[in-house]
């Protein structure tokens, strides 16, 4: 299974902001879409990622954090995934590097975002399915004919 299989059942694209937008606007977007991170883009190219944590960190030490811009607080060194990346590797990299949200790009263009939760759920469903299928094969023969 790969990233494309996760994006296929996630209707929404990643929610994006421009680096010039204010943190106030970014918070409104996070709230409206009930999500944990935004991808900052220039055109359709991701240039940063802004997570709720980035905002909390700033809010803890700066009363006037509302007025800062996305560009000020975002992480610029974004790790991005590609649709054919396999989930085993992606899960490893996300957990090792403590990445919760992975923007996905195809030929430099943002095509979606997957969260660590999405990746782990897809893996769990895959394993659960494999176990179920193996059980069927092992129990085969206990009554009835195959079709």
């Amino acid at each position: 299974m790969n990233i494309a299989n996760i994006l296929a059942r996630k209707g929404s694209m990643a929610v994006t902001v421009q680096p010039e937008q204010s943190i106030r606007e970014a918070l409104a977007l996070l709230e409206r879409h009930n999500i944990g991170a935004l991808v900052a883009v220039q055109g359709d190219r991701p240039v940063g990622i802004l997570s709720e944590r980035d905002i909390v960190r700033e809010a803890a030490r700066n009363e006037s954090f509302f007025a800062r811009t996305v560009g000020d607080l975002m992480t610029r060194d974004v790790i991005t995934g590609q649709p054919p990346d396999d989930l085993l590797t992606v899960a490893y990299t996300m957990t090792e590097r403590r990445i919760r949200h992975l923007p996905v790009v195809d030929q430099g263009r943002l095509v979606g975002m997957v969260s660590i939760g999405d990746v782990l759920k897809a893996q769990r469903d895959q394993y659960q399915g494999e176990v179920d299928t193996l059980q069927t094969q092992l129990l085969a023969g206990e009554g009835g004919q195959p079709r």
């Binding site: 299974m1 790969n2 494309a4 299989n5 996760i6 994006l7 296929a8 059942r9 996630k10 209707g11 929404s12 790790i79 991005t80 995934g81 590609q82 054919p84 990346d85 396999d86 085993l88 590797t89 992606v90 490893y92 990299t93 996300m94 992975l102 095509v111 769990r124 469903d125 895959q126 659960q128 399915g129 494999e130 176990v131 179920d132 299928t133 069927t136 094969q137 129990l139 085969a140 023969g141 009554g143 009835g144 004919q145 195959p146 079709r147």
Partner: protein
């Protein structure tokens, strides 16, 4: 006052489109809910149920087909009906279903193949594996396909489990095949096969090959085909070695070990040879001058790590030519759009969020329409993987019912739906009819020491039912 939907006075009426594993898992999940009374009508364009379990799973893999016993239990519910031979978009439309059901779930699978996108792909002798698979399994739409098995050299592109199925069927002896439920006409054609060399071509290395270990092991145990691989191609490159050592993924370690053992094997004089190749991509199919495949041009690949660390292939400037007269591309299946249902071209699936079909303009859920299985997430995963997938969709359906977000059909009675189907497709096949067909197939098989002898045309099936 009208009673609440989902009670015995007014059951929740659900149409499931597609009778593959996903359709049955969805039906099971719907019918099991202790709080909601659900009635399920399941439609399939074919008279026979089970989707790819009947028409995809290889004939020499009978054990996995026992999963259908569980499907029959679902179908035995008094609140379940099967309408076989009824195609969505042709015999019944979206508007028809909206007039008769509160909810519709599309479980139509992936009905076509992906292409390689290389010159020569459409030469005579180049086929999608999907067609070959459907043909040897007796799919009524593919029984008239023809494959030139007089060719001695065949290439199968892709190293997934479907590719493994295809090479096994090409390499098996008539005796091995004769005890399976392979379609009769295919058995005859394969008996006459002159195929001697089968190449299985992976674009990445052995550690990235998609086929699973039981399938790899089987390839090394064929009665009359020697397996071999090229030693340099099954040695891990530094990137793959690092990845395998880091993850310590047992299955991958075992797979690579088996493949290396194949590379060391000496030929034992069997009449066929199966050659596993890695790190090569076809770049062109070369014509014999008369429109037939005569050879395949391959480029050697190397691997590079993407930013997540996944290893992907990159072409080098080294090429080679492989003389082959028959090519099967097994590079994945692809979903097809259904009339009136939003489609996501990027991934070849119905546009959905966790199974709720979305309006392409607003990206908001469309009331009453859902998707599950391969048409929801793409063509990957074994049969069982569709169970949690279908459960996720059905949970969304129950949530929406609780919010009152269901269709308001004008004729929500089982009898009205049946009358509609009868009018549109008088020859529809019920589950009872199917169980009769099943008995006929099994009886025909018993006489020949086979699990069954399949009926492979709709006419034959209807005739067997006395129509």
């Amino acid at each position: 006052m009208t009673p609440t939907t989902g009670t015995s006075a007014r059951p929740l009426r659900v149409a499931i489109v597609g009778a593959g594993p996903t359709g049955f898992y969805a039906a099971d999940h719907l019918l099991r809910n202790p709080e909601v009374v659900v009635e399920v009508d399941m439609f399939d364009r074919l008279p026979t149920p089970y989707g790819l379990v009947r028409l995809g799973v290889a004939p020499d893999h009978q054990k996995i087909k026992f999963v259908t016993n569980a499907f029959d239990k679902v179908a035995a519910s008094l609140r379940f009906r099967f309408y076989g031979g009824v195609e969505f978009g042709k015999d019944v439309t979206l508007a028809d279903l909206q007039a008769h059901y509160h909810q519709i779930v599309y479980c139509t699978g992936a009905q076509t193949d992906r292409r390689m996108g290389i010159p020569g792909e459409d030469l005579t002798g180049s086929h999608p594996a999907t067609e070959f698979v459907a043909w040897y399994n007796g799919h009524p739409d593919y029984r008239d396909c023809a494959f030139d098995l007089s060719q001695e050299s065949v290439a199968v592109v892709g190293v997934g489990n479907v590719a493994a199925d295809v090479v096994r069927i090409l390499c098996r002896t008539p005796e091995e095949l004769a005890i399976t439920d392979v379609a009769d006409y295919a058995l005859e054609a394969l008996r006459k096969s002159r195929v001697r060399e089968v190449y299985l071509l992976g674009r990445r290395g052995p550690a990235q090959a998609a086929f699973t270990n039981p399938e790899v092991r089987e390839l090394g145990e064929l009665a009359d085909a020697d397996i071999t691989a090229i030693p340099q191609e099954v040695e891990l490159d530094p990137l793959s070695r690092a990845a395998v050592e880091r993850s310590q993924d047992r299955a991958t370690l075992k797979k690579v070990e088996m493949l290396r053992e194949y590379a060391r094997r000496a030929p034992t004089g069997k009449s066929r040879r199966l050659v596993l190749r890695f790190l090569v991509s076809p770049v062109e199919l070369i014509s014999d001058g008369a429109g037939r495949v005569a050879a395949m041009r391959l480029v050697r690949n190397e691997l590079y790590a993407t930013s997540t660390g996944a290893l992907q292939p990159r072409a080098t400037d080294r090429f080679e030519e492989l003389p082959v007269g028959l090519v099967f591309r097994s590079v994945g299946y692809r979903g097809v759009p259904l009339p009136g249902v939003p489609f996501n071209e990027s991934w070849g699936v119905i546009l959905n969020d966790k199974g709720r079909v979305l309006d392409p303009d607003t990206k908001q859920p469309i009331v009453g329409e859902y998707a599950a299985g391969w048409i929801k997430r793409g063509p990957t995963g074994v049969i069982g993987t569709n169970k949690p997938d279908a459960a996720e969709t059905v949970e969304c359906m129950f949530e929406d019912l609780a919010r009152g977000a269901v269709l308001e059909p004008t004729r929500p009675e089982a009898a009205a739906a049946e009358a509609l189907v009868r009018q549109r497709q008088p020859n529809y096949v019920s589950y009872t009819d199917w169980l009769k067909l099943n008995e006929i197939e099994v009886a025909r098989g018993r006489a020949q020491g086979r699990p069954r002898v399949k009926l492979t045309s709709v006419e034959e099936m209807l005739a067997a039912l006395g129509r």
